[in-house]
């Protein structure tokens, strides 16, 4: 018998499945994309400047970020639009490329790709691999900022990597204004390694859509 009460229970069950499903889908997308990106990353290392991970993608892998002490090993996409961050951490368009003077800015979601870095400490090592080789960075300090009032300006006189994610990590509701900013500096002596793969002269596929 399909009375009002049964309908209501079915409706609530439906809503419940929809909500849990959405949550599962977000996590699945974040993981699945990394698997698909693996292939595109190999092509990038082989010299493809804009290896699209899936045919309709408007972005491509630019780096691989490893933080061994926090079990982070992710492929980073070009651009940090909301759509990209669903799949992978994003390197802000307009960031300096690793090895160039300036600030390299990478953002990711606090509850997917950066979920393990809540307690990152000064001195810890971060590795960033690009088509031109690997570079090591050391965490200088972390800071919590209000994104409504501050941004990250690229400082051309430094060689630094900045990681950004939402804060606090345990918040139930997303869309908050606070960001955890992890400031790092390149470990000296990088330059020898940085060039190991740079036989190709084609431009790196990092477009500078920086300025909006």
């Amino acid at each position: 018998m399909l009375n009002f009460r049964t309908l209501l229970i079915l409706l609530i069950t439906g809503l419940g499945i929809w909500q849990t499903g959405s949550a599962a889908w977000i996590h699945a997308k974040a993981r699945l994309a990394q698997v698909l990106l693996e292939n595109a990353w190999e092509k990038t290392l082989a010299g493809d400047t804009a290896a699209r991970p899936w045919p309709w993608a408007d972005t491509w892998p630019v780096a691989r970020l490893r933080i061994p002490s926090h079990d982070v090993d992710v492929i980073v996409l070009h651009g940090d639009s909301g759509r990209n961050l669903a799949f992978a951490p994003g390197m802000a368009a307009g960031s300096a490329l690793p090895g160039q003077p300036g600030t390299t800015l990478i953002s990711a979601h606090r509850d997917t790709h950066f979920k393990n870095i809540a307690d990152i400490q000064p001195g810890e090592q971060i590795e960033l691999e690009t088509r031109h080789g690997r570079r090591a960075y050391r965490v200088l300090y972390t800071d919590v900022v209000d994104a409504r009032h501050s941004g990250i300006t690229s400082d051309p006189l430094r060689d630094e990597l900045v990681l950004v994610t939402c804060y606090p990590f345990a918040a139930l509701v997303h869309g908050g204004p606070f960001r955890l900013v992890i400031r790092t500096e390149a470990v000296s002596g990088n330059d020898g390694i940085a060039r190991q793969n740079s036989q190709t002269t084609a431009p790196l596929p990092v477009a500078l859509a920086t300025l909006y």
């Binding site: 809503l15 950004v164 909006y212």
Partner: protein
């Protein structure tokens, strides 16, 4: 007791409301101990050995005689740190500025700048810098963007760099206008990054953007932008003297409040009401002659080393034709990139709505909006009837500014049309022009213009005036600025009057055959109602008459002007040199092969050197040979920050992305709902048993 059914229903509704609103939920409350609002910069500076960058103070003096302005810009760099400093400052000047003078002032000493080929000037500067001598270098990045470099400022010391330029004052619609831009708005840099090795080879710069395939000097045109939260920097003061040569009805400043005094000779002295303002928006001074003193022609002459220079302004009489008979085809293009966020998009929206009101049912129209992507309201132009206009207004009201400034596809879309289209086709382009790839855009306009005419409307507090001016020139249209929401009405009606009135086209200049002289511009642009014709002459002697022939709608129009005497103008030679370089640069950009380009480049260099002018290939350099810094003391390089233009939104230019997903919220809501459903299900079963 309440029925459990109600309880269940109530809970379900509130929960589903919760999950619907979760996506747009505002910030979660966080105690102050967890947040350190906006302290990022300060702390970063404390933590590092970086010392405070030099500060900058700019004093501007303008002397206006008739329609010529002589401007002196004195930039004083102060080094507050305890180490020797080098300051690099990227700043704007009017696109028509002929920079012909540089002086470096160190205490009592004044060192005059020399004009050199750009590479040589830079070499001289570098050598002096390394030798510990004070040196300054002024380079041109764009016709309206320059860089001052100043080396070896001692700890606690102030050094001034003074540049001088010449410009003509714009006269249109019975008013003189003089703009002084103060800040370079952050530019959008399209293209793919060049490799590290290529960048060094091309241009070293200190900007926030990397050189790209499409903007090879990106790092030189993108000075670091200070977060507005940190307060304004780079104060500017202005002191203006106007000798208009005719009685004035009114002198006013468009965006700043001013103090004005008039002396017995009828000269005006203008100063800012506040002694200093932050360099964050254009300054514009407007003066209107009394109605019976409106100039119809002006003739300035200068003789320099047996060469004569002349500048002629002619105002063709306006003819008030009735409403235009044939319908027009109007395409509106509106920039909805992030740099337009805030005041600018509001100004653009209201200008566009006013423009729509002026369309009649004889007209056809379309609207194109763009940021990273471009799309149009209709697939092709539609007749302006009440249906299409309603759709258009709806479309305009919903426009929001966000994202990049990929202008090329939007312009290509606007200029694409049937070759044989009848009547007038007008493209009205609302933008702040905050792009670094100007050249590419000019090429497109030149190639695709056909029978369209392009009318840029410069929006916002610091539009890229070089882009507006040049786009109008290539697009054979005219440009307008809107800098205040309050101006929108007046400025758009001005523009529309121009659009609706017949322009003077196919203009040809006739000169006496026995006089050997050069005339600029080589191709005379079309004139719109209220606009004057400006001609520059150079030769062994000047003509005693000039004939102007043109086409006004269907009718031929001719006028002959007798040139006698003429008012002595200062630095007309600089004015001539600048116009010559501008003409050469246009030809260089349009040139098809490398040999032509090289030849034109050489000509720019020789013109720059001959007229002592800063150009893309010549720079002014001043070196104080007195040694200052000892070799064992270090020199620290600083690129000076600029303000964000007034009314711009930092977040929409350099914002941080959203970095959390709604997954946790979805999961919690979902599980709660499932729990609720199972409790309710159990109850139902128990009752029915």
């Amino acid at each position: 007791m309440r029925s459990p059914r109600h309880l269940v229903a109530g809970l379900a509704i509130s929960l589903s409301l919760l999950c619907l609103t979760a996506a747009s939920a505002p910030a979660v409350a966080i105690g102050p101990q967890e947040s350190t609002q906006g302290s990022l910069w300060l702390r970063a500076e404390q933590n590092t050995p970086y010392q405070a960058a030099p500060t900058l103070d700019t004093r501007v003096k303008m002397d206006v005689t008739g329609m010529l302005a002589r401007v002196q810009v004195r930039q004083t760099f102060h080094n507050p740190g305890n180490r020797w400093a080098e300051g690099i400052y990227v700043f704007p000047l009017p696109a028509q500025a002929a920079v012909d003078h540089l002086r470096m002032i160190v205490g009592e000493r004044i060192i005059e700048g020399q004009i050199k080929e750009r590479a040589q000037a830079r070499k001289n500067y570098q050598q002096a810098k390394q030798a510990g001598q004070r040196a300054s270098l002024v380079e041109q990045e764009r016709p309206n963007m320059f860089t001052t470099s100043l080396a070896n400022i001692a700890p606690g010391e102030s050094v001034s760099v003074e540049i001088q330029y010449q410009q003509t004052v714009q006269y249109s619609n019975d008013a003189f206008r003089l703009r002084f831009p103060m800040v370079v708005g952050p530019r959008y840099i399209p293209g793919e990054a060049l490799d590290v090795e290529q960048q060094v080879a091309v241009f070293a710069g200190t900007g926030w953007a990397q050189a790209t395939t499409r903007v090879v000097d990106a790092a030189r045109i993108t000075p670091a932008v200070r977060h507005p939260q940190q307060g304004p920097i780079n104060p500017v003061s202005l002191d203006i003297q106007i000798d208009a040569g005719m009685p004035l009805a009114e002198v006013s400043s468009t965006y700043h409040s001013i103090d004005q005094r008039q002396n017995a000779k009828g000269q005006y002295r203008i100063q800012l009401a506040e002694a200093q303002v932050p360099a964050d928006r254009d300054f514009e001074l407007v003066w209107r002659p009394e109605a019976d003193a409106l100039p119809k022609a002006a003739w300035f002459v200068e003789q320099k080393e047996s060469r004569h220079y002349g500048l002629l302004m002619l105002v063709p009489p306006t003819q008030h034709a009735g409403t235009p008979g044939i319908g027009r085809e109007v395409v509106f293009v509106i920039d909805t990139s992030g740099s337009m966020h805030g005041d600018s998009i509001r100004q653009a929206r209201s200008a566009l709505l006013l423009a729509l009101d002026r369309l009649t049912e004889h007209d056809r129209f379309n609207i194109i909006r763009f940021n990273n992507t471009a799309d149009s309201l209709f697939s092709q132009t539609e007749r302006a009837d009440s249906n299409t206009l309603t759709l258009a207004r709806q479309f305009v009201r919903n426009l929001e500014a966000n994202g990049g400034t990929e202008m090329l596809p939007a312009l290509a879309m606007a200029l694409q049309h049937e070759e044989e289209a009848q009547g007038i086709r007008q493209v009205i382009f609302l933008t702040d022009g905050s792009v670094g790839n100007e050249r590419e855009l000019f090429q497109l306009i030149r190639k695709k213009l056909g029978n369209s005419r392009l009318f840029p409307i410069g929006i916002g507090s610091a539009p890229n005036s070089y882009f507006m001016r040049k786009a109008a020139e290539y697009g054979r249209g005219t440009f307008t600025y809107i800098g205040n929401t309050a101006d929108v009405m007046e400025k758009t009606s001005d523009l529309f009057e121009k659009l609706e009135q017949p322009a003077l086209t196919d203009i040809r200049i006739e000169l006496p055959s026995n006089v050997n002289l050069e005339l600029l511009p080589q191709r005379i642009p079309d004139l719109y109602a209220g606009e004057p014709l400006l001609l520059a002459f150079h030769g062994a002697e000047l003509p005693d008459w000039v004939g102007v022939h043109g086409q006004r709608g269907e009718q031929a129009w001719t006028s002959r002007v007798t040139l006698e005497g003429g008012q002595q103008g200062a630095a007309l030679a600089s004015e001539w040199g600048r116009r010559k370089i501008a003409g050469l640069m246009t030809r260089l950009h349009d040139a098809e092969n490398d040999d032509t380009r090289q030849a034109l480049r050489d000509e720019v260099v020789s013109t720059g050197l001959a007229y002592h002018l800063v150009s893309p290939y010549t720079s002014l350099v001043a070196v104080d040979v007195t040694p200052a810094r000892r070799q064992n003391e270090l020199l620290k390089r600083h690129s000076l920050q600029t303000n964000l233009p007034k009314g711009w939104s930092y977040d929409h230019v350099f914002g941080l992305p959203q970095t959390a997903t709604p997954a946790a919220m979805h999961l919690t809501t979902g599980l709660l709902l499932l729990l609720l459903a199972s409790i309710a299900g159990l109850r139902v079963r128990r009752q029915s048993c």
